[in-house]
């Protein structure tokens, strides 16, 4: 139930983001979800794409520093308390969240939350046992 995410190091310079999306567009790679963490000096762009391996290869060839990490994609009901319920479970199990970001599906009935856990396997166990629906990589890439 792990989903591959790529992370790209960015200096805070204008046009870098456009360059990355341009490279992916040219190769027909589709971005499923993204988040940008930024500090005053640099940024880390995190992407889930439909072709992780190719995206990584293309970006590396263009000279970017690229890493891949495993994240967990959780489906939550798109209504008040949907996310709170999941976070309660995570809190009770004492799981550390490094960061998270959200995106919605086309249908609009459920939201998807992407979690980067410190201990990803333990987190998957806990969430599945609590009856939370996790999306597989194939499901996410095919959205």
């Amino acid at each position: 139930m792990k989903v591959e995410q790529i992370a790209i190091f960015l200096e805070n310079r204008s046009g870098r983001l456009a360059e990355i999306t341009g490279i992916l567009a040219e190769k027909g790679i589709n971005i499923r979800a993204m988040s940008l963490a930024d500090t005053s000096d640099f940024g880390i762009l995190r992407l889930i794409v439909n072709d992780t391996e190719n995206a990584r290869k293309e970006l590396k060839e263009k000279g970017f520093t690229v890493g891949t990490t495993s994240v967990v994609v959780v489906e939550v009901k798109d209504k008040p308390g949907g996310l709170a319920n999941v976070l309660q479970i995570i809190k009770k199990a004492d799981l550390n969240i490094e960061y998270m970001y959200a995106f919605t599906q086309k249908s609009g009935e459920t939201g998807l939350i992407i979690f980067r856990f410190e201990k990803v396997d333990a987190a998957i166990d806990v969430l599945i046992k609590a009856g939370i629906r996790l999306l597989s990589g194939e499901e996410v890439y095919a959205i």
């Binding site: 995410q5 992370a7 190091f9 960015l10 200096e11 963490a37 500090t39 000096d41 640099f42 880390i44 995190r46 000279g63 970017f64 520093t65 690229v66 890493g67 990490t69 490094e98 960061y99 980067r116």
Partner: protein, 433 residues
């Protein structure tokens, strides 16, 4: 292996007697032939006859780059230009170029010294020597070239630039010895990997690197990445060019000075008083055999100390400790002396950090600020902000611990720091003082 067994293993007593004889005749010649030197010596109240022992050298005035500039271009030559067969010059980025000349005999001696150096590094006439030092006015390319030919090795005069082609030639010719600056050696290793090659599959076994100060950590990095022995060579165009001193492959610990041709001294960097053997200070050289362009007590601005302990390679020449800084490279940041090599030392000692860095110095108001830019390689990159921020803090703290001066560390994208094809440009000083 020793190229010139007779001279390189001369007992100290005989060596020093030879040095004194050569020094005396050199001083006499210079005094008689160069009005500028004669005036300086007269002013200091010293005559050639006052040099009775090697220690008497301290009576003679120093020569500095400033003296060379004042006599630009040929004012300090001791032979008429018709006897000069070659001219070299420094790049002159900080002022007038420094011009040096050689007679036929000077060139022959230089070629021998360079052959001695290559032999000390383990090269023989069977080797294929890839010479990536720049050919031209810079002494590196031609100096190394003549030495390699003198040794009887096969020399590839590739000079600087066009890195991909260099790698192709190196691979196809099965070159065994690499001559270039240490920063270019790392640049080559990186480019090989980029081209999908394993640097260790090259036939290279040894590299002789010089023309810029480099740290022990950088040596380890080069040896690891290229799978070779990395040997330090020292020289400066004013004295002769590359070939003034060399590490032996047996020890790689200190560089044997070609003492039968150059007399080294270590002086206090501020008072310029001679320091006792073994103490660290500014390195000063007097040439003993140069014909066209001899120098008396030339202040190199390089910091080192002399090692007098016998060496397992059997050479009797004293060794100078690897240069880790030049007073020219030295930055003064808020009153603290900082050498780029110290920053390099910190960076390379941190796991995964690559030695591609640049130091930017600025003055904000009255305060100097130093920014160290470090490229983010795959091995130190993380998708988490806190990990990268932790890394910059760690580097900042270690620099502060070592130098006692705080700096800002900025992570930059790979390859955003310009790669050198000769001497690396480590410092950008934007201060307007």
């Amino acid at each position: 292996m020793i190229y010139n067994e007779e001279y390189e293993t001369l007992p100290r007593e005989a060596l020093e007697a030879l040095q004194l004889k050569r020094l005396q005749s050199q001083i006499e010649r210079i005094y008689a032939r160069v009005p500028y030197y004669r005036a300086k010596m007269d002013e200091s109240g010293v005559a050639p006859g006052d040099i009775k022992t090697l220690a008497d050298i301290s009576k003679l005035p120093f020569t500095t780059k400033e003296d060379l500039r004042k006599n630009y271009p040929f004012g300090l030559f001791t032979v008429p230009l018709e006897r000069v067969v070659r001219i070299h010059a420094s790049s002159g980025t900080t002022g007038q170029p420094t011009v040096v000349g050689y007679t036929k005999r000077d060139i022959a001696i230089w070629a021998e010294l360079m052959a001695r150096c290559l032999t000390a590094a383990g090269a023989t006439q069977k080797d294929i020597i890839h010479n990536a030092y720049g050919y031209g006015l810079f002494t590196g390319g031609l100096g190394a070239h003549y030495g390699a030919e003198n040794l009887g090795a096969t020399v590839i005069p590739v000079s600087g630039g066009n890195t991909k082609r260099q790698i192709m030639l190196m691979r196809d010719f099965r070159s065994t010895v690499l001559l270039c600056t240490p920063s270019y050696a790392l640049n080559l290793a990186e480019a090989m990997v980029d081209m999908g090659m394993d640097p260790k599959e090259m036939a290279l076994k040894v590299g002789v690197f010089g023309a810029e100060p480099w740290s022990e950590n950088m040596r380890e990095e080069i040896e690891k990445q290229l799978g070779i022995k990395a040997i330090d060579i020292y020289g400066l165009s004013e004295i002769i060019g590359p070939g003034v001193a060399i590490e032996c492959v047996e020890e790689q610990k200190g560089l044997h000075i070609m003492e039968d041709h150059f007399l080294p001294e270590i002086v206090h960097p501020e008072t310029f008083e001679p320091l006792p053997l073994g103490e660290k200070g500014e390195l000063v050289f007097t040439t003993l055999t140069k014909e066209a362009f001899p120098l008396i007590r030339y202040r190199t601005k390089d910091f080192s100390r002399l090692i007098t302990a016998p060496c397992s390679c059997a050479r009797t020449f004293y060794r100078m400790e690897k240069i880790t800084g030049r007073s020219d490279d030295m930055l003064i940041i808020r009153g603290v002396n900082v050498f780029p090599s110290q920053i390099e030392h910190v960076l390379i000692s941190i796991e995964g950090v690559e030695p591609h860095y640049q130091i930017i110095v600025q003055r904000e108001g009255t305060l100097d600020t130093m920014e160290v830019q470090v490229e983010v390689s795959d091995s130190i990159f993380s998708d988490e902000v806190k990990t990268l921020e932790g890394l910059t803090k760690k580097i900042q703290n270690e620099i502060k611990d070592l130098l006692g001066v705080s700096c800002k560390v900025k992570l930059v994208e790979p390859k955003s720091i310009q790669r050198s094809e000769g001497k690396a440009k480590r410092v950008i000083d934007k201060r307007k003082i």
